[in-house]
C-alpha cells in the first residue's frame, strides 16, 4: 500500500462534531498559531481575505466570486527590491524581499478550488525549476475545505475530476450538517489544526460517515451538467488545432479576460519593474492569454494576433496541452465560474464536447 493511501486510511477514521457555538471559540484559539483567511462578503460578493481576530468566515455562500488562487498566488506580488542610488554599494542589484510564510489556514475553500491548486502545482513545482513564492506559500497553508451541500448551477465538477465533497488537496473537510458541523480530518496538517483549535467532541464515526455520505450523494445528484473528456488524450494536437469550430467558438468573445481572472487553474503572469524615485521593486502580476500583448514580439510579429487564436489557446491549453503534458486529466475542476461570468456566454462544457467529439 502506498504511503498516501495509508495516511488517508488513518485519518478517514477521524470525524468530529462541532457545535456552531464552539466553532467561533475554536477559531479564536487558532488565531494564536495561524493567520486565518476565509470568505467575507464585500458589497454583493464573497471573496477570500485575512480575518481579523474575532471575525468569522462567512460560510453562507455558494462560492467566492474569485477563486481561492490568490491565497497562494496574489494578483500582484513583489519579487525583489533594488535601489538605483549609485552612492550605495548594492545599487542596481536585485535583492530578495522578506515575506511572511508563517502558518496560515484558509477556512471555507470549496473542494474545486482546493483541487485546482494540485493542478497548478504541476506548473510551479517542477523537477527542473521551483517557484519559491508559490511553493512556500502553498506549503505554509492548511486547507480547511467546505463541502458543497448546494452546488452552483454551473458546476460540472463530478465529471471534471472533482465533486462537491472531493477531498484531494484538503487537510480537513468541513460539512454543514444543519445544527452542527462535521469536521473530517484528512492529513497530519489537519490534525495539527484541530489540536490548535481545541475542538474535541469526537463523533460516532460510523454514524458521521454515513451522514456525510448521504449529504454527499444528495449534493452530487444536484449536479446535472456533465462533460466528456475521455477522447481528448488520443486526439492529434495539430488536428484539433485546425478544427473548423474555433471561429464559431470565438465569434462572440470580446477578449475581456474575465474567464482567466476568475479561473482557479489559470496561472499565467507578467513580470514588471516599478520604481519610485531611486527605489524600486520587481513584481509579478496575473496576466491573461486573452490579451494580444501577451505574446507580442518586439519586432511587431504576434503569433496569437487574432481573438480566435487566443480563445483557441485557452481551451487547447486547458483541455489538450495540459492533458498531454502532465497525464493528469484536464486543467479544469468544473467550478463553472468562467461560464457564470462570461459576458457573451461562452461555455467551456460545450467547447469540451466539441473537442472530445471532433473527428478530423
Amino acid at each position: 500500500m502506498s504511503g498516501l493511501g495509508f495516511k488517508v486510511k488513518v485519518y478517514m477514521m477521524k470525524i468530529i462534531t462541532i457545535n456552531k457555538e464552539d466553532w467561533a471559540k475554536g477559531l479564536e484559539r487558532l488565531c494564536d498559531s495561524f493567520r486565518l483567511f476565509g470568505p467575507v462578503k464585500q458589497d454583493e460578493f464573497h471573496n477570500f481575505r485575512q480575518l481579523v481576530k474575532g471575525e468569522l468566515p462567512d460560510l453562507n455562500l455558494l462560492n467566492t466570486r474569485l477563486s481561492a488562487k490568490s491565497m497562494v498566488y496574489p494578483q500582484s506580488e513583489k519579487m525583489f527590491e533594488f535601489t538605483l542610488d549609485e552612492n550605495r554599494d548594492d545599487h542596481h542589484i536585485l535583492k530578495e524581499i522578506h515575506k511572511d510564510y508563517s502558518p496560515k489556514a484558509v477556512i471555507g475553500i470549496r473542494p474545486c478550488d482546493a483541487r485546482a491548486f494540485l493542478l497548478v502545482k504541476e506548473n510551479f513545482d517542477t523537477p527542473e525549476y521551483k517557484d519559491p513564492y508559490w511553493i512556500k506559500s502553498y506549503e505554509a497553508t492548511t486547507w480547511v475545505g467546505y463541502a458543497c451541500n448546494t452546488p452552483c448551477s454551473t458546476c460540472f465538477g463530478t465529471t471534471a475530476g472533482c465533486g462537491p465533497f472531493h477531498e484531494q488537496g484538503l487537510d480537513l473537510l468541513l460539512v454543514d450538517a444543519g445544527d452542527y458541523y462535521l469536521l473530517k480530518i484528512l492529513t497530519q496538517k489537519g490534525e495539527n489544526f484541530l489540536t490548535a483549535a481545541g475542538w474535541s467532541s469526537k463523533a460516532d464515526s460510523d454514524a458521521a460517515r454515513h451522514e456525510i455520505e448521504t449529504l454527499k450523494r444528495a449534493a452530487e445528484e444536484k449536479i446535472t451538467a456533465r462533460i466528456s473528456t475521455d477522447k481528448l488524450k488520443d486526439k492529434k494536437t495539430t488536428e484539433l488545432f485546425e478544427a473548423p469550430f474555433w471561429e464559431e467558438v470565438a465569434f462572440a468573445c470580446i477578449n475581456c479576460g474575465t474567464c482567466t481572472y476568475v479561473c482557479p487553474t489559470c496561472w499565467c503572469f507578467d513580470i514588471q519593474d516599478e520604481t519610485i524615485g531611486l527605489s524600486g521593486i520587481r513584481m509579478r502580476n496575473w496576466d491573461s492569454c486573452m490579451y494580444p500583448i501577451f505574446t507580442l514580439h518586439g519586432s511587431g510579429h504576434n503569433p496569437r494576433n487574432t481573438k480566435m487564436q487566443r480563445v483557441r489557446q485557452r481551451f487547447m491549453h486547458k483541455l489538450k496541452y495540459y492533458v498531454d503534458k502532465y497525464g493528469d486529466g484536464i486543467q479544469c475542476v468544473g467550478c463553472g465560474r468562467c461560464i457564470r461570468h462570461c459576458p457573451v456566454n461562452i461555455d467551456i462544457r460545450k467547447v469540451c464536447d466539441l473537442m472530445n467529439n471532433f473527428e478530423a
Partner: protein
C-alpha cells in the same frame, strides 16, 4: 530553495557597435561574484534573461562560447524598452543576468557529422557561439565538414566582421558569406539571399549532415524547401525559435507552441518536432 528569478549581478566590461545602422551592439559582461560565473555553465545555443533594475528583463541568445572563459557576450538589437535602455548604458554599469536558459543545439548527436550553419541578419549570435565552440582545438576533431552560410542586407550589417574574415582564411571551415546587395566594388564574397546561396553552396543532405538554421521567419520559410531539395532529413534540420518571454523557465505561460514552452522545452527544435506542433509561431 534557490530562487530561479534572481539574476546574477554583472558589470558591463566592453561595448562594441557591430553594424553600420548602429542598431546592434555587443556587450561583454563579467560577473561581480566569481562563484556565479562557475554556476553559469552553458552550452552553445542557450539564452539568458538580461535584467536591468527598473526596466525589466529580455531573453537574448548567448553569443559567447562556453570555450571562452571569464565573461559572457550578448549582441543586442535595439527594439523595445529594455534593449533601448541597454544601448544607452556605459562600460562599468551594473545589471543582471539570469540563466543559462533553454536547451541547446544537439552537440552530442552531431558528433562525427557534417554541420551546416545557416544564419541571416542579427540571428547569428548563438551561431557565432556554435562556430567558436566547434573550432576550439579540443572540439574541432569531433565534427566532420563545417559549412557556414551567413547573410545580411549589406556588408555593413554583418555581425562579427573581424571573426568572419579570420574564419575565411581557415581551411577547416567553409565560409559562404553573402549580402542581399552592395555597391562596394571590392566586395569579394557572395551576393544573393540566403536560400539561393544555400542552394548553390550547401553540401547535399544525408543522414550524416545536420543543418542549424537561425534567422528571420522569411529566410526560414524559403530555406526549408531548398534543404528538402538537397535531401536533408527533417530530423537533421535544427531550428532555434524566438518568442515573447518573461520567466524563461516554463512557468509564466506565454511562449508555448502547443504543449511545449519555447523557453524551457526549446528554443531548439528539429523540423520533425515542429511538424508535429501547431503552426503558431
Amino acid at each position: 530553495m534557490q530562487n530561479p528569478y534572481l539574476p546574477y549581478p554583472v558589470r558591463i566590461e566592453e561595448i562594441i557597435t557591430e553594424t553600420e545602422d548602429k542598431n546592434l551592439k555587443t556587450f561583454k559582461f563579467v560577473f561581480l561574484n566569481p562563484d556565479d560565473q562557475e554556476k553559469f555553465n552553458y552550452n552553445a545555443g542557450q539564452f539568458a534573461e538580461l535584467s536591468v533594475a527598473g526596466k525589466g528583463e529580455i531573453p537574448i541568445g548567448i553569443a559567447s562560447s562556453p570555450t571562452e572563459k571569464g565573461f559572457l557576450r550578448f549582441t543586442i538589437n535595439k527594439v523595445g524598452l529594455v534593449t533601448s535602455y541597454i544601448h544607452a548604458m556605459k562600460v562599468g554599469d551594473i545589471m543582471g543576468i539570469r540563466g543559462p536558459l533553454g536547451n541547446w543545439y544537439p552537440w552530442e548527436v552531431m558528433k562525427g557529422k557534417n554541420v551546416v550553419i545557416i544564419g541571416g541578419g542579427f540571428a547569428f549570435t548563438t551561431l557565432r557561439s556554435s562556430i567558436i565552440y566547434m573550432l576550439d582545438p579540443d572540439n574541432r576533431p569531433k565534427f566532420k565538414d563545417i559549412h557556414v552560410i551567413y547573410g545580411a542586407r549589406t556588408p555593413g550589417m554583418l555581425l562579427y566582421r573581424d571573426e568572419l574574415a579570420q574564419w575565411e582564411k581557415r581551411d577547416d571551415i567553409n565560409m559562404h558569406i553573402t549580402v542581399d546587395g552592395t555597391d562596394d566594388p571590392d566586395w569579394k564574397y557572395n551576393i544573393g539571399f540566403v536560400p539561393t546561396i544555400t542552394d548553390q553552396k550547401a553540401p547535399p543532405g544525408n543522414e550524416e549532415t545536420y543543418a542549424i538554421i537561425c534567422g528571420p521567419p522569411i529566410m526560414i520559410k524559403f530555406t526549408q524547401p531548398v534543404l528538402d531539395k538537397l535531401g536533408y532529413v527533417h530530423d537533421n534540420i535544427i531550428m532555434s525559435l524566438e518568442m515573447r518571454m518573461k520567466c524563461g523557465i516554463g512557468i509564466c505561460g506565454r511562449c508555448n507552441i502547443g504543449k511545449e514552452y519555447v523557453c524551457k522545452d526549446g528554443p531548439v527544435f528539429t523540423l520533425t518536432q515542429l511538424n508535429n506542433m501547431p503552426k503558431e509561431y
